[in-house]
Symmetry: C2
Subunit: 437 residues, 2 copies
Amino acid sequence: MPLCNFDQYPSFALVNACVVTCDGEGDSPRDRLGIIAPGVVLVQGEKVGCVGKVSDFSFDGSIQTIDVQGRLVTPGLVDPHTHLVFAGSRMDEFQAKMRGVDYRKIGQEGGGIMRTVRATRGSDEIALLKRLESRLARMLRRGVTLVEVKSGYGLNIGEEMRLLRLGKSVSEKVLDGNEVGVKQLPRTTTTLLGAHAIPQEYAGNREEYVNLVLKMVDLVSGHENGMRLAEACDVYIESHAFSVGEAKRILESAKKRGLLVRAHVGQFEDIGGAEMVAEMGGISCDHLEHVSDKALGAMAAAGTRAVLLPGAWRTLRQQAPDAQRMQRMGVEVAVGTDANPGTSPCFDLLVALGLAVRDAGLDPEAALLAITREAAEACGAQQAGRIRAGWRADLAIWDEVDPLVFGYALGGLEPRAVIIAGKWVLEHDGDWSLIFQ
Amino acid sequence: MPLCNFDQYPSFALVNACVVTCDGEGDSPRDRLGIIAPGVVLVQGEKVGCVGKVSDFSFDGSIQTIDVQGRLVTPGLVDPHTHLVFAGSRMDEFQAKMRGVDYRKIGQEGGGIMRTVRATRGSDEIALLKRLESRLARMLRRGVTLVEVKSGYGLNIGEEMRLLRLGKSVSEKVLDGNEVGVKQLPRTTTTLLGAHAIPQEYAGNREEYVNLVLKMVDLVSGHENGMRLAEACDVYIESHAFSVGEAKRILESAKKRGLLVRAHVGQFEDIGGAEMVAEMGGISCDHLEHVSDKALGAMAAAGTRAVLLPGAWRTLRQQAPDAQRMQRMGVEVAVGTDANPGTSPCFDLLVALGLAVRDAGLDPEAALLAITREAAEACGAQQAGRIRAGWRADLAIWDEVDPLVFGYALGGLEPRAVIIAGKWVLEHDGDWSLIFQ
């Protein structure tokens, strides 16, 4: 039996909550969690009307109050790094990897990213959209209300634009000719990753492909047609992908055209790139299994986030990056699923977080920030990752009372209820029983 | 919109399925998966009526047929090792562990298992039952239809009996004085773990506590009152817990009284125990981070399963056991969540499986067997872990077409629908979209 019928009560207040705003000030993670308890979140239409202590409110019966009995109320979670629009699995490659074959060798032999490119190019839009929606629905059931979606399995102009339109269509109905249903799904923010791999047809002419990516940048930034298909531009910097110089050309052009910039850096080796992204004011460097102190210093100075991707380092059986080192050097850390069919078949952001704590040493106390506030900063999402008056009311309610739970749990943590833009979109039946108390 | 209304159709057939019976014969994992495709599972009342190829069936319209369009139909999953009846979290201890404090030191200082014992003893039955049901409901949402539940947070006669009654009550309504709801939850099988730790009040007199555990064995086996509260007896063998000699006394008594026997062995060091359990015909040795070849040989000879518990080795940041070594030596491998508030806050068996593949080298092809057939053997569950005519119809239907997916996914894998004892108990809305195809 749902606690709140939104149609009946367009405004409501969650009361007696442990509100973790993720909007606090201060040097310590605890301060930045911004906990208000016992607290109130007043939702008015699509927005948060106000947030505060129970003692500062009085309710006269004109709006619905919902007693959440001490439970955690957090911002809806933010997944800052996914490759969610794809067709086909790479399970057989996974099996080969588990039997000791190197990921890059699989790619050289026609597998890897290029295999997913072929499957994705061959898949029609309705099928791709259904898959995307199914993946987003799973993320929603784990409390995620905003997902960054990259292109990168198209690798030519038409296909990359198609993937970005699909990524955008979930939130914004820009898919031509197809009515998108009214399913409640997380919002998406899209990122052009035309520079994900050099497609086979350009193997002998890298520069020509980089020029093609520059053309994609023009198109997605709305430089050519007035419609912006992506908020950000990403490049995969690695010796088997794009060089720092190539990335710089692409990202400088993107920045000039008003796109946010970010990059995959140091997944297999440190060939540089993080400093360049930081100096350009980039929003994030992602992976960072291999990164120098100098690069981390530049990221700290620029406010460039580090995005940790545990699904990838576990699936590739790599040494995890050192989150404590990053935080000591002043770099803020976010965590993403990296959801993709090759290196990270992971659709549960909370599992990724539990692994980031265990493998990379991310402090459990700071863990929630890495999938809310810092994740939103890392993907340039607006009005996401914090509970703040006037911002969109994307909230999750948990059968938990201590925010330490987010780093502590390793699978099976899920919200009791999710609210998107003020609307109650998911709620589990039954008593509101606590899991860990 | 549910595909099948059970009340209307007490019998139904799943057709055009990739039926993974987990009931095949042969040496290779693939053979033992027993795949029938395109296949049919005919459900009659609470049981599987028959299983076979589509070409062997003809339907005359007298029963409902449900076209699952090539999807995987598997046995409901079996979690063979949980400590699911507990109160209180140990999140602060987790934070200390992540900052480098040794788990055994936490126990010596009054934390660890004894802290959960205090919280559990202080919690009333209704609160404990609600927590247990909430945890089981999460497991069901991940496809689990049978869960082994251990006692072990009571550590005196009255409390251990209370925890076992609670564990049983979910399936069998033996909880005195409280009507248990009609919620659809996984079945449980219960295990006495009175020998989980030496409680403080017996610190100076271990033998007296072992004698008390022998008394518990009498009680749960129905030796005293005719009612059997557990199917199995478990002992935690470790230098800071029970010695091999103490375990032997307890398990021999349990075996004599008709209980199945198993043990926690080699989590921190190899002090022996696996050979003793194997020689007694034990159903499983669990953990096995440290185990000798000789012990594995004895387990193989006796058919004693190894139960891997990835939630614990990741949370304790230990080296994983070597599943390939076990399988080479002829030991069948199962995987469990080890769900508990101290060393494994994990309620997602599929996440545990994904980690067992990545960390312990469990072959992806064999992975599903470890959470179905082998898991059922490891906890002594009847009519579970296989799809077989005449057995209870506990089934899961997945938006997937290749059984490799179970080891491949690392978070976010969940069934499209779950059937317990022939009854459709969970189904996600929306199109039946595939996630990885």
